[in-house]
């Protein structure tokens, strides 16, 4: 491999060396898909990632070359390269990186040929358009538009493009007129190589709500156990005392132990019982 590299022009050799040295420098080396990201968004994303990750766009052949030269296991990354991959390096763990990249996702207007990521729904109701040829444009695209009260309205809720379908030119035009932005654009992680292991996006999506709920559950369980076992800590001592006091009251009332603190409760109980009995005799 090293031999082969020497046949490359100098700038390519430098680039390959750079790819290798970054892969050695950072704990995580990954591939991200840049497909469909306009230059302006790209700049914003790079800015967002500054200090957290290094993004490097280069030729796929050089990437393959670089990882090939590094051998196993990292060369496995080459099998994930496609069309518009870029390299990403970071010291975050892959779950953290995935989360950060998800946060860079923005909604964009659809262009003809884009695939709807989910059902694109147009709600019933008035639009901001005044009557005119636009009604025809809407109708031709399959949207139930009409004129009512001097305004262009959508007569009923419509699934305009189904998830997974290609958005055609007319639909893209209508969506852009209605300012509906259905397309997720951003750096999507294709694979991450971290501490000797490959992570694919399917395993990296974390349900934070579930973790939050589990933390709540764990805290409740610990609290319950602490109180149940009467293990006194700053958090559990008061409920433990309350529990003990409650138990004592219950016992006192149930067994009719005439003690100052609870005699009113016993009277109350007796009177309720008498009322209940009286009710049955009337």
């Amino acid at each position: 491999m090293a031999l082969y590299t020497t046949h490359l022009p100098q700038w390519k050799q430098d680039e390959v060396e750079q790819i290798v040295s970054l892969a050695n420098e950072y704990r995580l080396t990954g591939l991200v898909d840049l497909h469909g990201i306009p230059a302006k968004q790209m700049q914003e994303m790079r800015r967002d990632l500054r200090g957290k990750a290094v993004l490097r766009m280069t030729r796929n052949t050089l990437v393959e070359h670089a990882f090939g030269s590094m051998g196993e296991p990292i060369d496995g990354i080459n099998s994930y390269i496609d069309g518009q991959s870029a390299l990403i390096y970071t010291n975050d763990n892959p779950f953290q990186l995935y989360k950060k990249l998800q946060q860079t996702m923005t909604k964009m207007v659809a262009r003809p040929g884009d695939i709807a990521p989910e059902d694109i729904v147009i709600e019933k109701g008035p639009t901001s358009f005044k009557p005119g040829p636009i009604v025809g444009v809407f109708q031709q695209a399959g949207l139930p538009a009409a004129i009512e009260g001097g305004k262009v309205v959508i007569r009923e809720r419509k699934v305009f493009v189904k998830a997974g379908e290609e958005i055609n030119a007319k639909q893209a035009d209508v969506l852009s007129k209605l300012d509906i932005r259905p397309i997720d654009v951003g750096l999507s992680l294709q694979v991450a190589f971290y501490d000797g292991t490959f992570y694919e996006p399917s395993t990296l999506a974390i349900d934070e709500t579930e973790y939050y709920n589990n933390v709540v559950l764990a805290a409740q369980q610990a609290f319950n156990l602490g109180v149940y076992a009467a293990y006194p800590t700053a958090q559990t001592i008061e409920p433990i005392i309350a529990k003990a006091a409650g138990e004592a009251r219950n016992l006192g009332v149930e067994a009719a132990i005439y003690s100052k603190d609870i005699v009113e409760l016993i009277i109350g109980r007796a009177s309720l019982q008498a009322k209940a009995l009286k009710g049955m005799t009337e």
Binding site: Y258, S259, K260, V263, I267, G268, A270, L272, Q273, K275
Partner: protein, 68 residues
């Protein structure tokens, strides 16, 4: 609970709840009276407004019927 009922018989009849009175009521019911419980009851009732305790019980929203 019979001791408290005895006290409430007396109270409801406008009588004072004394140890002797409670004992008499219980004895009339054929109950072998334990002096200590009578004492404890009368002591516990000292200063307690029975009327109010009864009213409180009745007022408690919790008394919502628990039909089984």
């Amino acid at each position: 609970m019979e001791y408290i009922y005895a006290a409430l018989v007396l109270h409801n009849a406008g009588k004072e709840v004394t140890e002797d009175a409670v004992t008499a009521v219980l004895a009339a019911a054929g109950i072998e009276v334990e002096d200590s419980r009578v004492k404890a009851l009368v002591a516990a009732l000292d200063g307690v407004d029975i009327e109010e305790a009864v009213a409180k019980a009745a007022a408690a929203p919790a008394v919502a019927a628990a039909a089984p």
